[in-house]
Symmetry: C2
Subunit: 408 residues, 2 copies
DNA sequence: ATTAGTTTTGTGGATTTCCACAAAATCATG
DNA sequence: CATGATTTTGTGGAAATCCACAAAACTAAT
C-alpha cells in the first residue's frame, strides 16, 4: 500500500505528506539544489536546512562539503537512499537523502533529517516510494521551465549582439521574463576542450545554479563555448570576484565532472545593460588574443589585464594598409636573416622581462654578458636607444604585432 | 660710351663680351648662385669657377665661405663692385664681384677673376655698366621661369594630396615639367614663427637652391609653412641626411636672414612617388604631435622617431567611442583628486625616464625613497605590477592619450 | 687550413639599486 | 590643537647591475 498514490495540488502538500509519514522534516530540491518544497510540521531543524529555506537554495559551502564527502557523487550514481553523517562545520545534522530519477537523469533530491531514532528498513522503503512519486511532480515543473528557458535564451543573444538600444527596455524585458537585475555585470566566456554535450550542459547548469560567489542571471551554450552574464556582489572588488569565480568554475568542472575547460575570459564590468554587447566583444577579444599569445597572456583573464593587446586588432588593420613600417625592426630582422642571429627574439624577450638583464639571460639560457653584448649590437644596428621608453614601446608593439599578423 | 649697349642673342654672348672688355674670365649667376652664363676665352680659371661650371651651380662650401666672410651680405646690400680676397681652402682666387639689381631686388651676380694686374678704376666702372646691362637679360629669364613655376606648384599640391594613382604618370609629368626625378624622397615641412612674406620666400628659395646636402625638386609655401620634397643622395643614411638638412636649414635661416623656424618634421622615405601623399601626412602628424607633446618630442623630427605617437590619432578616435577605459589610471586619478596627490604625474615621469628611480627622482625634485614609496602606493592603489611591460605600456599610452585628448 | 671578424663566456671591481628601518614632516579630522 | 595616518627624508648595508677587459669559441670568407 503506497501512501503517496494520490493526487497532490502542490509540491508543498506532497512534502508535508512525506514528513507526516516519516515523522521528520523533509526538504525537496531540484537537481541544482534549489529549494522546491519543504515540510512545515514542527520538528527539530538543523542550521543547514534553515539556511536553505531562507535563501531558497542550499548554501554553497554545504554543497561543497557534500561533494568532498562523496555524498553527491553517490546520489548521482545510485537510486537507493543513503545515510549522511552529520557535518557540523556547515551545520548539517544527520540526514537521509535520496535522488529522484527520470530514466537516466536526476531530477532532484529528497532530504530527510534523521531524528533521535535510527531509521528502520521500512522507513527507507517509504522514502524510495516518495522519490518515485516526486518524479511526476518534478517533471511538470521542468516542462514549464523549458518553455521559459527558450525565450530567455533568445533574449540573451539579443543582449549580446546589441539588439537593444535602451537600458530601460532591457530592464523591463528582464522583469517580464523574471530575470533578476543587478547593478554591475560582465560577460564571461569559457572555452571547453570538447564540444559541449547535453549531459555537460546539465553539469554546467548545476554549477552555475549552485555557485553563490556571484549571480549568473543568464547563460547560453554554443559549440565549445559557454557564455554567461556575471553579476558580482559588490563593485569594490568585482574584478577579483569574477577572477575567483573563473578559477573555481574551471576547477570544479574538472574535479567534479572531469570536464576540461581550456580557457576563460571576461569583459569590462558595466552598469548599463546596453554595454553588455561591448563586454561580450571584449571577452571575445581576450580569448582571441590569448590564442594568439598563449605565452604572453597565460594568466590574463580580463579585458583590463589585456593591456596593450586591447587595440591590436585596430593596429593590425592599419598595419595591413602599409602603415607602421618600423625601421629598427626591419634592420634587426635583416641582420637576423643575413647572419642567422636572433636579435629580434632577444629584444622581444628582453622587453618581455621588463628590460631586466639577468632575468632575460636566464630565459634565453645565455650568459648575462652575452645578452649585454647583443643589446649593444641591437642598439647599434637598429639605431635605437634602449633607455627611451617611447622607442621601446613602439618596438615592443611592432614585434608583437608582427607575430600577431603571421598568426592570422 | 657703353660697350654693352647692343643687342645680345644669348647670355653666353654677353658673358663673352664682358670678358673681352675686361680681359678676364666672367661668370654670371642668378640670385641663387645657379650658373647662368660663363665666358669661354682662354684665361686662367680658379678651381671654384671650374666646379661651378661643371655642376652648373656654385659649390655649397664656396657659398658658405662667402657668407662667413661677409661677401654675400655686402653684395646683397650694395650696388658697387667689391673685391674678394682669395679663399684658398675652397679654391677661390682673387675675384671682383657685383650684384645685378632690379629695383630693390637682386637678380644675380657677375663674377670676374682678377688676373695678375690689379683692376683700374675704369675697369670697375665697366663692370658696373655690365651689371646694368645684365639686368634686362636676366629679367627675360625670370618671366619664363615664373610661368613654369606656377604649373609646378599646382603639380606639387596634386602630389601631396594624392591626386595621382600611378607612379609612371607622375614620372612622365615630371619629365614634361622638367622636374628631376630621384629614387628616394620624403616630404619635409617647416613651420615658421611668422607668416612667410614674399621677401622671405626669396630667401627660402635661395637656401633651397644653394643647398647641396640633398636635392629639393619641389617646394611650396603656404602661410606659416614651407613644404618640400627632399631627395637624399643615398638610401643608406637617408634618415640622417635629412635630419642634418633640417638642422642646417633652420640654422641658416636664422643666422643669415634672422628668420625663426619653430619646427621641422619629415615623413618616411619612399621610393614610389604615389607614396608622397603618405609621407606628407606623416610629416603633418609629426608636427601635430610635437605641438601636443612639446616636452616629450622636443628633438623628434621624423615619423620613425615619433614611435608610439604614430598611432595616437587612431587610438584617440577609439577612446572617444568610450573604449580604452583604464582602471589603473582612473584609480590613480581618483586618488590624486581626493588627496591632492600627484601619482599620475609621478608614474608618467617614471615611465618617461625608463623606470629609472634616480633619474625620475631628480626630474621630480624628490628624494629617491619618496619616489620608491610613491611607486609602492601606485602599485597598490592602481593594482598594477610595475615590472610588467604590457601593463606599463598600456598605462603609459593611456596617460599620454589622456593628455592628448585634453590638448585637443 | 688560415685568418680576420664576430660572438660568447668569464672575472673582478666600481657603481647603482634596492630594502628595511626610523625619524621627521605633513595632513586630515574631529 | 591633538591625534593618528600618511608622506617625506635620511641612513646603511646587502644585492644587483654595469662595465672594462680578456680569453675562448665560433663564422665566414679566402
Amino acid at each position: 500500500m503506497n501512501p503517496f498514490a494520490t493526487h497532490f495540488d502542490s509540491l508543498e502538500e506532497f512534502a508535508d505528506r512525506v514528513s507526516e509519514v516519516l515523522q521528520c522534516p523533509i526538504t525537496i530540491e531540484d537537481a541544482n539544489h534549489r529549494l522546491i518544497a519543504y515540510s512545515t510540521h514542527e520538528h527539530y531543524t538543523d542550521p543547514a536546512r534553515t539556511a536553505t529555506i531562507i535563501n531558497r537554495r542550499v548554501p554553497e559551502k554545504v554543497i561543497n562539503s557534500l561533494w568532498r564527502e562523496g555524498v553527491i557523487p553517490k546520489l548521482l550514481s545510485n537510486r537507493e537512499p543513503i545515510r549522511v553523517e552529520m557535518i557540523s562545520e556547515v551545520g548539517l545534522g544527520n540526514r537521509i537523502a535520496i535522488s529522484i530519477w527520470k530514466n537516466k537523469e536526476v531530477l532532484g533530491f529528497i532530504w530527510a533529517i534523521e531524528m533521535e531514532q535510527t531509521w528502520t528498513e521500512e522507513q527507507f522503503e517509504l522514502l524510495k516510494q516518495a522519490a518515485k512519486a516526486a518524479k511526476n511532480l518534478l517533471l511538470q515543473l521542468q516542462i514549464r521551465k523549458h518553455k521559459k528557458e527558450e525565450r530567455i535564451q533568445e533574449f540573451f543573444w539579443k543582449l549580446l549582439t546589441g539588439h537593444f538600444s535602451s537600458h530601460n527596455d532591457i530592464i523591463q524585458q528582464c522583469h517580464v521574463l523574471n530575470i533578476p537585475v543587478y547593478p554591475f555585470s560582465s560577460v564571461v566566456i569559457f572555452h571547453f576542450k570538447q564540444e559541449i554535450q547535453p549531459q555537460v550542459e546539465r553539469q554546467i547548469d548545476y554549477l552555475l545554479k549552485t555557485t553563490q560567489q556571484l549571480a549568473v542571471p543568464l547563460y547560453t551554450i554554443d559549440h565549445h563555448r559557454l557564455t554567461l552574464l556575471a553579476a558580482p556582489k559588490s563593485n569594490a572588488n568585482a574584478q577579483a570576484d569574477i577572477k575567483r569565480f573563473l578559477r573555481s568554475f574551471i576547477a570544479q568542472m574538472n574535479e567534479r565532472f572531469r570536464i576540461e575547460i581550456t580557457d576563460g575570459a571576461f569583459g569590462s564590468i558595466y552598469e548599463c545593460y546596453t554595454k553588455i554587447e561591448k563586454s561580450y566583444k571584449e571577452a571575445q577579444t581576450v580569448l582571441n588574443m590569448k590564442r594568439a599569445f598563449p605565452h604572453d597572456l597565460g594568466n590574463v583573464q580580463s579585458y583590463q589585464e589585456l593591456g596593450m593587446y586591447q587595440f591590436f586588432d585596430l593596429l593590425l588593420e592599419k598595419k595591413r594598409d602599409g602603415d607602421f613600417y618600423n625601421e629598427t625592426l626591419e634592420k634587426l630582422k635583416q641582420y637576423d636573416n643575413r647572419h642567422h642571429a636572433s636579435l629580434v627574439k632577444t629584444i622581444e624577450t628582453f622587453l618581455d622581462h621588463d628590460s631586466n638583464v639577468n632575468e632575460t639571460a636566464k630565459a634565453l639560457n645565455i650568459h648575462p654578458n652575452t645578452l649585454a653584448y647583443r643589446l649593444k649590437r641591437i642598439a647599434e644596428i637598429g639605431e635605437i636607444d634602449l633607455h627611451d621608453m617611447n622607442q621601446k614601446v613602439k618596438l615592443y608593439i611592432d614585434v608583437k604585432l608582427a607575430k600577431y599578423e603571421t598568426s592570422h
